[in-house]
């Protein structure tokens, strides 16, 4: 695996203008497959969720899954697309062992949805419109595992295993028009766009939208052109970039790589690239030209898909609140300021906060935990906050321990570390680490008496009614108990000791 030369991102941006394009594949969560009655289930034993249709047995015929068509129309509507009244499937012919018929049934020049757009809000609130070329229906291929060989690719493998469980899973492929004018925000836009698509399909309930399972997969096209030139440069297509952070990194890397290639005076090769999460680089895949000949022709085994206007309007009426509107609503419900809310969104913890609130925490507590404790840890661990391993239930439990006076905030943070280290539930960790707030009043009273004796003038002030002076005594007590005392209880005892009404 050779290492390609790269320019710094800043230098690349000085010299060139990036143009992006995305093909996002969304796996639909229909009960059955796109063209067969086999179950559409992830993670089962290989080659169990298949029937004769998925295996491309002689004599089989496809039948279109109506729910998949509905889901596709919903996606089209959510992407502000036009919905075709009449469209057909086509066969994309190529020989590859993950495709049992040696053609993929897809849509070619008659997509079900076309000419849409999606407004993407960047971290500073800038709204960038991404034009959608089309969203079309197709079937997924099987999954190949190449055994032996160094690269895990088919070249050089000793043999390959194929699992057809995924074969025939319904897909919607969303294709953007070329995205121009993003400039140095291209990597951020890339991430935000894929996040928005993922959010939309999840919100529609048409996909499980788990990128780590391949429910949402992104192919990122990048090309560069010198500033001021209209004609696009030659593009590369980085395949299967399967996390939001990877999308950002891949686009950034490709911009830097293209810039180095162009600087060297060589032409960029039109090809597919493979993304490597470990090195955050891409390597050359297969040369791809526009002349790839898939011998598309209309699928003769299927009748056209007719989407009557009545049906489309019925589906439109069932669409859930769009994510942007949802964000507005959540901000209002939670009472966050614009800045607070944008931080939450940019940190990628809005859904987590919503789930935490649903689990029983209030809005400010949920925000405090996610923004104050979890985001930082996620950054250190270099993962998305939602992938750190903190569940809403953990947070609710931690918060209950704090509010119940069992532990204070400082201890709660230590308990969280314990949870992430796999030491058990928060209650178990409090127990094991001996972190409970001191609640036996005996030692506390000793500490209080000592503190009052050490600061007689302060004690006098409190006695005379200047209750705000109590902080100095509380501080002394907390210091003496190494923070293990419950400050509220300390206050009560001090007042009691001095015979002052609280």
């Amino acid at each position: 695996m050779s290492t390609d030369a790269t320019l710094s991102f800043e230098e690349a941006m000085e010299k060139y203008d990036p143009v992006l394009g995305f093909e996002v594949h969304v796996e639909l969560n229909t009960k059955t497959k796109m063209f067969s009655s086999a179950p559409n289930v992830f993670g089962d034993e290989p080659n169990t969720n298949v029937n004769e249709v998925d295996l491309g047995m002689p004599g089989v015929l496809p039948v279109v899954n109506r729910t998949a068509v509905e889901s596709s129309i919903k996606i089209g509507l959510a992407l502000n697309c036009k919905i075709a009244e009449y469209c057909r499937f086509a066969r994309k012919n190529y020989f590859y062992p993950d495709t049992p018929k040696n053609f993929q049934t897809s849509q070619y020049d008659e997509p079900i949805a076309y000419d849409g757009y999606l407004d993407i809000e960047l971290s500073d609130g800038t709204v960038f419109r991404v034009e959608i070329e089309r969203a079309h229906m197709e079937e997924d291929a099987g999954k190949l595992t190449h055994m032996g060989g160094a690269t895990g690719r088919i070249q050089g493998a000793d043999y390959s295993l194929v699992d057809y469980n995924r074969s025939g899973v319904p897909l919607v492929e969303i294709v953007t028009k070329p995205i121009e004018g993003a400039g140095s925000r291209a990597p951020e836009l890339a991430k935000a766009y894929v996040a928005a698509v993922r959010e939309i399909v999840k919100n529609l309930g048409v996909s499980d939208a788990k990128m780590e399972r391949g429910n949402v997969r992104c192919d990122a096209n990048v090309s560069l052109r010198p500033h001021g030139r209209e004609r696009f440069g030659i593009r590369s297509e980085t395949k299967n970039v399967n996390s939001l952070r990877a999308v950002e990194h891949a686009v950034r890397y490709e911009i830097q790589r293209h810039a180095a290639v162009l600087d060297s005076g060589e032409p960029v090769i039109q090809e597919t690239r493979h993304w490597h999460e470990d090195t955050r680089t891409t390597t050359s895949g297969r040369a791809k030209s526009d002349a790839d000949d898939y011998r598309y022709f209309p699928e003769p085994d299927l009748v056209p898909v007719l989407a009557s206007r009545e049906w489309v309007e019925e589906l439109r009426a069932t669409l859930p609140e769009p994510p942007a509107a949802r964000r507005k609503r959540l901000q209002a419900d939670w009472g966050y300021s614009d800045l607070e809310f944008r931080d939450v969104v940019n940190a990628g913890v809005m859904d987590s906060i919503e789930e935490t609130i649903a689990a029983g925490a209030n809005a400010s507590v949920a925000r405090k935990w996610w923004m104050g404790e979890i985001v930082g840890r996620a950054k250190t661990a270099d993962v998305d906050p939602s992938e750190l391993g903190v569940t809403p239930e953990t947070i609710v439990e931690l918060n209950k321990l704090v509010e119940g006076g069992k532990i204070n905030n400082k201890m709660a943070s230590q308990v969280l570390d314990g949870v992430l280290a796999g030491e058990g539930t928060p209650a178990e960790i409090v127990e094991k680490r001996g972190l409970a707030v001191v609640s036996d009043d005996g030692p506390l009273l000793e500490a209080i008496d000592a503190a009052l004796a050490a600061q007689p003038d302060v004690a006098e002030k409190i006695r005379s009614g200047k209750l705000q002076a109590i902080g100095a005594i509380v501080g002394g007590v907390m210091k003496a108990t190494r923070g293990q005392a419950d400050a509220g209880r300390v206050k009560e005892l001090i007042l009691e000791r001095l015979g002052v009404e609280g």
């Binding site: 004769e52 295996l55 491309g56 047995m57 002689p58 004599g59 089989v60 015929l61 496809p62 039948v63 279109v64 066969r91 012919n93 020989f95 062992p97 049992p100 018929k101 040696n102 053609f103 088919i154 390959s160 194929v162 002349a291 000949d293 011998r295 598309y296 022709f297 003769p300 085994d301 299927l302 009748v303």
Partner: protein
């Protein structure tokens, strides 16, 4: 139980057998065994069967007999054709029997599922005698392209039985089965029917589910009946027809008046149109004579004969040989040695998936199949698509319009089914274009999706071989074909003094009996 001997039994029509079975004058086991005996006797000469399914057929027959013997509601509920045996073209997948499509690439393959039509035969409790020979993947007009040797025409064993369904037609003509299933993409039911003196029906596209018929050209393929009488085909089509949720292209409206139409044949006042382009030049004189004779009979029976013109039919063969191979090239891509069937490893060089696929397909497919895959791959290629596949689709529309115009002038159209009688084995094997021309009269119906029936029209004067008469009706008007076909059949049989097949030479052990004919 029966007073008929086996030779008489196997010569009964399916309708006659059904009546005798219902009346318990004969058992299904007797009938089935008589056919199995006949197969054992003559199929060495004819080679109509690739697989004989004796055990299962007899088991089904015994089950029907037991139900009939027990009487009661279950016996009442038996289908009219229950216990009547049938042969199945080996392009249609069956559990429990191999399915080869006449190709080496599927040698020994057993389907894990039944075709919809097979499920329907099983539901009707019709014993399946076995699987019949065909041109490889149904590509041919002579059954010479089978990887398992040619089928021979029972009328003359040196001649072809037509194709691709030569096995089904020959089996029925040789009294090895009373009924058979065929598939018709460009004439594969009708042309074998014509050259073997049997009845073959290509129903309206979508009238019979294609699920489980190994696809040759999806937009043209149609399963249909092969029989010795028009009524028998109607009976069989009602068994196998109807909407199938597993075939999106299957029609939803029921075709349930076919048998009634065949029983009440009537042509009085009907307009029957001769298609100007489908007779005359290029048609054998004996074929023309028999065709004209049928026209006279229909006229005498009260039909009005008119002439219609279908000017675009001259492009039909060319367009067919673009659309069909295009679909073939894609439909046959799945035969790659990866999941089932033959797998051939390259003899030397690297063992890559591409090379295994290539070696498998090189060894597994015959020349005609390769020829069509190459043609179709070319026709669909970027830069050629519009000129070839695209233009051919336009021709298809023009042919449909020709039919629309013709059916505005006539209720039913009529032509010879094939331009010639059966040719000699090997005669056209090296001349694909001459072979393709055999289907010139049958292809337009596939291109338009309309039904076509071929029935025996007599024997050509010059060679004494059967001539087929083709009737065509608008889409969904299959009943009309049975109505007219039944009339023409009865008029002709009256003229001949019995079924045409009674004139066929004897086969098997009976051929050694003095005289040999019945």
């Amino acid at each position: 139980m029966t007073e008929l001997n086996n030779s008489e039994l196997i010569r009964l029509s399916a309708a006659q057998l059904a009546a005798k079975l219902a009346a318990r004058e004969v058992t299904s086991v007797e009938v089935t065994q008589a056919y199995l005996d006949r197969i054992a006797d003559v199929d060495g000469q004819v080679n109509a069967f690739l697989h004989v399914n004796a055990e299962e057929a007899l088991a089904v027959a015994a089950e029907v007999d037991a139900i009939r013997a027990a009487g009661g509601a279950e016996a009442e509920a038996l289908h009219e054709l229950a216990g009547v045996p049938i042969a199945v073209k080996d392009l249609i997948v069956t559990i429990g029997q191999p399915t080869t499509a006449g190709s080496k690439i599927l040698e020994g393959w057993h389907s894990p599922y039944d075709a919809t039509v097979i499920k329907k035969l099983r539901a009707a409790k019709m014993p399946i005698l076995g699987k019949t020979n065909l041109d490889e993947f149904a590509m041919g007009s002579s059954t010479e392209h089978s990887a398992y040797g040619p089928t021979r025409n029972p009328w003359d064993l040196d001649r072809i039985p037509g194709g691709s369904g030569g096995g089904s037609a020959a089996a029925v003509a040789a009294f090895e089965a009373p009924l058979a299933l065929g598939t018709d993409t460009g004439g594969s039911i009708r042309q074998p029917g014509a050259v073997t003196g049997t009845v073959g029906m290509k129903p309206t596209y979508g009238a019979v589910s294609r699920y489980g018929a190994i696809a040759m050209a999806s937009s043209l393929d149609q399963i249909g009946p092969v029989s010795r009488t028009v009524l028998d085909s109607a009976l069989l089509q009602e068994v196998i027809g109807g909407h199938d949720p597993f075939d999106s292209t299957s029609l939803t409206d029921p075709f349930d008046t076919l048998v009634a139409a065949a029983k009440t044949g009537n042509v009085t006042g009907m307009k029957i149109g001769i298609i100007k382009e489908l007779h005359g030049e290029g048609y054998q004189a004996g074929v023309e004579n028999r065709f004209n004779e049928s026209l006279e009979l229909l006229k005498e029976a009260g039909a009005e004969i008119v002439e219609v013109s279908c000017p675009n039919f001259k492009y039909a063969l060319g367009a067919y040989y673009l659309i069909m191979p295009s679909e073939v090239s894609s439909n046959l891509a799945k035969f790659d040695g990866v999941r089932y069937g033959l797998r051939v490893l390259p003899e030397d060089g690297p063992m890559t998936i591409e090379r295994v696929m290539a070696a498998t397909r090189a060894a597994g497919f015959g020349d005609e199949v390769k020829r069509r895959i190459i043609l179709g791959t070319y026709a669909l290629s970027a830069g050629y698509y519009d000129a070839y596949y695209g233009s051919a689709q336009k021709v298809r529309t023009l042919i449909q319009r020709d039919f629309d115009a013709a059916f505005a002038q006539a209720d039913v159209l009529i032509s010879p089914t094939a331009p010639t009688t059966a040719f000699k084995l090997g005669e056209k094997l090296d001349d694909p274009l001459a072979m393709y021309l055999n289907d010139v009269a049958t292809i337009p119906a596939n291109m338009a999706g309309i039904p076509g029936l071929s029935l025996p029209g007599g024997l050509a004067d010059e060679d004494g071989l059967p001539v087929g008469i083709q009737l065509l009706a608008p889409a969904r008007e299959d009943a009309r074909l049975y109505r007219v076909g039944a009339v023409l059949e009865s008029l002709l049989e009256e003229k001949w003094g019995g079924p045409l097949l009674a004139k066929a030479p004897a086969l098997g052990s009976s051929s050694t009996i003095a005289g040999g004919s019945n």
